[in-house]
């Protein structure tokens, strides 16, 4: 009699297969492209694929495609970063596929490099063109001496405010210093309105404010990381916001540009947002706001920088790309050539220009929406020029921002003030970095 497949043998078989499978599988590891030889330029035509959540990016690529017949760029829209785009990119790279170029938020670039998903650009002579980029943008894609992506749009922080209510109705001025911010927020709060509202779980605001104060949370030293979240520059920001939160003079229920914020801003109940320059486009969707809003510089400390960086994204050449030289050629055009910048502003509505000397043609004119103010040249340009260039993003910013956000949330309820949260967070982050297999230590 032939051996039959009984339930028991089937079970034993699948058990053995399971054990074998377990031994064979390890998390995706895209290999070590940055240790291998550089890929030479290709003779003949090349088609590049580019995944991004910028709208109408193909129209920008088409301008480049028409200029020459060697490189053709095809774009594919993906959901924005955490809404699924990152999962899609990383999965594709892990499967050894994916596009040549992908959009990655600036603060996320080192994390992608850590995942083995990026091509280091100095290997393709990116440093030679570094002068064409805005230093504030460039510093955000740099770790140690390596460049991991091409900056594509940035977000120098400024104050966007409802001039009609703040100046007209309440007789106040947008705060020029953080000291003034506290007084203004108090007065606005007494009038039954909020100067700003924060989503405390969104750590990115606090991080950009600390960056402006002059802190450098992550430094590299040789092959190791030094984490310093408790220096004077960080702690004065923590103390300041502890006082603001304790006094309950700003809103903490929802973040800027969320649906409830839009409703409240339209009613004139929330008067401002202090965040990245890309907010200008969002403010324009506040109901009934035309001609009423204006832009002012970020409030400052007596020392420190004029502004911080908030949001913005880079175009990264993925480690699975077969045409890094051509990809870099296209990105250089898109991110430094006036034609590329203007196209990105017109079609994709990017944030601040990544190029050094060109902010975009339309941005040199007064804005009708912001009551005729020429805010780009008058306000945002100085904000972009005085940035904390020593700031380096660490390869765990999602995690760090989540921890800072959790910390802010507990600070709002008064459980753990920010001055205690930062030292705790520093210890925690060093531990996480070590768990990730990195060399890290706390600053002394």
């Amino acid at each position: 009699m032939k051996p039959r497949l009984t339930r028991r043998t089937a079970l034993a078989g699948s058990g053995a297969a399971m054990v074998g499978g377990l031994a064979a599988c390890a998390p995706p590891n895209p290999g070590n492209v940055n240790a291998e030889a550089v890929i030479p330029p290709t003779d003949g035509p090349v088609t590049l694929s580019y995944w991004a959540w910028l709208k109408d990016l193909q129209k920008v690529a088409d301008i480049f495609n028409q200029k020459q017949d060697r490189i053709r760029v095809e774009t594919t829209w993906i959901p924005g970063g955490n809404s699924g785009g990152y999962a899609k990119i990383l999965s594709a790279v892990a499967a050894d596929g994916g596009p040549d170029i992908a959009q990655v938020e600036l603060r996320q670039v080192p994390e992608f490099a850590l995942a083995g998903a990026l091509t280091e650009l100095n290997r393709y002579d990116f440093a030679a063109q570094a002068d064409a980029y805005d230093p504030g943008a460039l510093s955000q894609v740099k770790v140690g001496e390596d460049y991991w992506a091409v900056p594509q749009d940035t977000g120098p922080v400024a104050t966007f405010y409802n001039r009609e209510v703040l100046e007209g109705e309440l007789g106040l001025r947008p705060p020029a210093t953080w000291q003034e911010f506290r007084e203004t927020a108090g007065t606005v709060s007494e009038a039954g309105k909020n100067l700003i509202t924060l989503d405390p779980s969104d750590g990115s605001y606090l991080i950009s404010w600390i960056m402006q104060s002059g802190a450098v949370w992550f430094r590299t030293e040789g092959d190791g990381w030094i984490v310093d979240m408790t220096g004077d520059a960080s702690m004065r920001v923590a103390e300041f916001w502890d006082e603001i939160l304790a006094a309950k003079i700003i809103g903490t229920g929802y973040g800027a540009f969320s649906t409830p914020w839009m409703a409240a801003a339209g009613e004139g109940d929330v008067l401002a947002s202090i965040g990245g320059s890309w907010a200008d486009a969002l403010v324009q969707s506040v109901p009934d706001a035309e001609g009423k809003w204006a832009v002012a510089p970020m409030p400052t400390w007596p020392d420190g920088y004029a502004s911080g960086a908030h949001g913005g994204s880079a175009a990264a050449v993925l480690s699975t790309s077969k045409h890094p030289v051509e990809a870099l050629e296209f990105l250089t055009w898109m991110c430094t050539d006036p034609e590329g910048i203007d196209a990105m502003i017109e079609y994709s509505g990017i944030g601040w220009s990544p190029a050094k000397d060109y902010i975009g043609e339309t941005r040199q004119e007064p804005s009708e929406f912001f009551s005729g103010q020429n805010y780009n040249e008058e306000v945002i340009l100085p904000m972009a020029e005085d940035q904390n260039l020593d700031w380096t993003w660490a390869p765990l910013m999602q995690r760090a921002a989540a921890i800072v956000g959790d910390g802010m949330t507990t600070a709002v309820s008064g459980e753990v003030p920010l001055v205690d949260m930062l030292p705790q967070t520093q210890t925690k982050i060093v531990q996480i970095m070590r768990d990730m297999g990195l060399d890290a230590e706390e600053a002394r």
Binding site: M18, N82, Y86, P110, L114, G253, A264, R399, A402, G405
Partner: protein, 294 residues
């Protein structure tokens, strides 16, 4: 001989898909959960190696305060939400199955209707009723002096519970009604002859006989609670109270796709799956134990 191979041939298409999309991912996830990565260089550019980590990821997951908190939050959610929902579904089913219910078909369809709306759409729909300034509910409560912040950190869990209850009560009600319909008419007749009231009939006849249906809905609901993801993830953008590791599933998602720690994400996913298995087993155990004692 031919008859012996026939089932396998017929099953083959299913088996290929089943193994490819169910068994392989599960085996891989279990594999990932036992591995960790070591890197050299600032960003691992000096090379990285995968190594066997034993139960390290599990220990780390269970000692991660956020993950433990998310489990606690889910348990609390489950205890309150599942109870409220099952009681509501049972009461609705009993009311619709009483002899003097008016238009039972119409109401059955109405109560079941929310289940036809995808969870994502339901969440968006409800969130407009939660947002101050847009919501008529908040406005009306404000007029009578009740200031409720539906999206506040303490309230938002129950706002989510409300959405889930709204969506699934009708569905569970339908399962219970199906079982009620299977109760033989003679039992009701006998009860009538004995002079039992409607309430007595419900307590002494209907409730004991729909136990299997109740058990089924409870287990479905427990598993549903463990899977809690879409509603909180969507409401995250509207509420400051929802962190990226709000529920265990969101935590696994965050570790996999945001923190880039596949090993930890896999360990958390395995913990969630094992918990679902254990909780269902416990629920069934309690059920059969009480059954035997009667």
């Amino acid at each position: 001989m031919r008859s012996r191979s026939a089932p396998w041939v017929l099953l083959a298409p299913f088996l290929v898909v089943f193994i490819g999309t169910m068994i392989v991912p599960i085996v891989m996830a279990i594999g990932y959960s036992f591995s960790s990565v070591e890197r050299s260089g600032l960003l691992g550019e000096g090379g990285l190696t995968n190594s066997f980590a034993g139960f390290e990821n599990y220990v780390k997951a269970l000692s991660n305060a956020n993950f433990v908190e998310s489990i606690g939050r889910m348990v609390l959610f489950g205890i309150v939400q599942v109870t409220v929902m099952i009681v509501a579904a049972t009461v609705l089913a009993l009311l619709l199955e009483t002899a003097n219910a008016k238009w039972p078909g119409f109401f059955r369809a109405t109560y079941f209707l929310p289940y036809g709306i995808p969870g994502v759409i339901a969440t968006i729909l409800w969130s407009f009723l939660y947002i101050p300034g847009l919501s008529p509910i908040v406005d009306v409560l404000g007029w009578v002096g009740l200031e409720i912040d539906f999206l506040g950190p303490n309230m938002v869990l129950w706002s989510i519970a409300n959405i889930v209850t709204w969506t699934y009560t009708g569905y569970n009600m339908l399962i219970i009604i199906a079982q009620l319909k299977a109760i033989p008419g003679e039992l009701y007749e006998a009860a009538k002859i004995d002079g039992a009231s409607g309430f007595k009939v419900a307590m002494a006849i209907q409730l004991p006989l729909i136990r299997p249906a109740l058990m089924l809905t409870i287990i479905f609901s427990i598993i549903g609670t463990l899977q809690l993801f879409a509603e909180p993830r969507l409401m995250q953008t509207m509420s400051a109270g929802i962190t990226s590791e709000y529920t265990p599933n969101m935590s696994a998602y965050a570790f996999a796709f945001q923190y880039n720690d596949v090993g930890m994400a896999a360990a958390q996913a395995v913990i969630i799956a094992v918990s679902a298995f254990l909780l269902s087993a416990v629920a069934l155990g309690i059920s059969s134990w009480t059954e035997k004692r009667r």
